[in-house]
Amino acid sequence: MKEELLVTARSNELIDPGLHIWTWEVAMYLFLGGLTAGIMIFAAYVTLARKDDEAPFAATQLALLAPIALSLGMTTLFLDLEHKLFVFRFYTAFEPTSPMSWGAWILLLIYPVTTLQILATLRRGFPVVVPYVDRWSIPRAVIDWCENHRRQIALVAVPSGIALGIYTGILLSAFSARPFWNSGVLGPLFLISGLSTAAALVALVSREKREKEMFTRLDLVLISAELALVGLFLISLATGTAKHIEALQSITGGPYTMVFWVLFVGIGLLVPLLLEMLEMRGVGKSLALLAPVLVLIGGYALRQVMIDVGQDSTWTRYPSQYSAEMLERMEPN
């Protein structure tokens, strides 16, 4: 027998009995950050590939959703901070060894880049604003400049989007103290998932049939790639050290098995993959809206399950000798 117990009561909030510092706020931010990355990259892709006619929504209106999604994500991220008044401290330092510091500065870069993307197609995407912006010379000149440099802006948007999408994964993978996260696959996995959710969003919102088909096709490839990365991630855990294998057990029989396999892999990846394949063959058109919705749910589920299982995986776990249950038993009736 080997038993390790805490014999002085330690009940540090958010840390005991198991780490639970990050909850839905961070998962939602990681999801919306990935979605924003995908939106930027696809808006840039249709520009660079000259697919304006085929994909009018992605070409002229999609970019507007980027700062909206990101702002919502940054709001939930702000909600997670414990020392909120000091949030400005992210911008009084750059710590090159901290992915979170890189992220803070990348977020700052995303706003001007997406603004330029929006302005470059503002007149075509939102003709209703034309009379207002063209009334003054400065906005008119700025928008003219953006329209003339649309391709160059797209060329900047692609790496910016990749940086945003991949950093959210690297952020988690850098925690060697949490074996479940400590895999280099997480960066690409989060990036591909972000692209997949953005493709699903276009397929969901666009009214153009050809565009829906194009993004459904893209999403098929992305979901397949994501499944492959999930497989690699599981292999790296299964072939890792005792700590990695222990972490893997959380989703192979442990408490997070159902949410990982049924919610994320099943409902979030396999079912939409199947629905989209059927759709491509002209079957199940009435379910056309369901697949992208499931992909979006799956994208969120990935972040939530990662956040939960990662925090549960640890180097140190002591059961406390002083459980609340025992204290209750001591109280006189």
């Binding site: 014999v7 909030e13 780490l19 414990e82």
Partner: protein, 180 residues
């Protein structure tokens, strides 16, 4: 860089918890929060049992992942030593350092919200005193000093006794040693 270490003799520690109380008193740690704690390890089968008490806290690692991953520089090394401190005025409460600590030795200060931890009582070390937990230990099983000084009690104990550190596989190079 001065490397401070704590050496704790598990052969003489009786798990009384005085170190825990001393820390709470010295550092005015609020109710419900703890910067140090005691673990009791029991091994064997009755009646052949073996017990080990360990007074645990931040390991003030030589490779502190909490400092590396802090996005604002709030987690830092004090005065070119291995003593890891948090500057509350730079801390956003993002909790990256808590996730980064393999020993779960950090906590969120309430009600303020900045991250807090064992400081090796650097305010006492500065005056040449031992940390409060070490000073208050009734069995004198705790020792504190610089590993750079070969004559210090911690250096001598580590040269003459068998010891271990917690989870050396993390690569964090912890500086709290347990004599076994």
């Amino acid at each position: 860089m001065t490397r401070y270490a704590m050496v704790i003799d598990t052969k003489t520690c009786i798990g009384c918890g005085d170190c825990v109380v001393a820390c709470k008193t010295e550092n005015k740690v609020p109710d419900g929060l703890n910067r140090d704690w005691i673990v009791e390890l029991t091994r064997g089968t009755y009646p052949r049992l073996e017990t080990e008490f360990r007074s645990e806290r931040c390991n003030h690692c030589s490779n502190p992942t909490c400092v590396t991953l802090c996005p604002t520089g709030a987690s830092h090394l004090w005065n070119q030593t291995n003593i890891v401190l948090v500057d509350a005025d730079k801390c956003t409460g993002c909790k990256a350092c808590i996730a980064a600590c393999p020993y779960d030795a950090r906590l969120v200060m309430h009600p303020d919200g900045y991250v807090d931890k064992c400081t090796f009582c650097h305010h006492r070390v500065e005056q040449g005193l031992d940390p409060a937990c070490v000073s208050s230990c009734p069995t004198r099983c705790m020792h504190f000093g610089s590993l750079d000084d070969p004559g210090s009690s911690v250096s001598e104990l580590l040269q003459t006794r068998k010891y271990k550190v917690l989870n050396p596989e993390t690569g964090n190079e912890p500086n709290v040693y347990y004599l076994t």
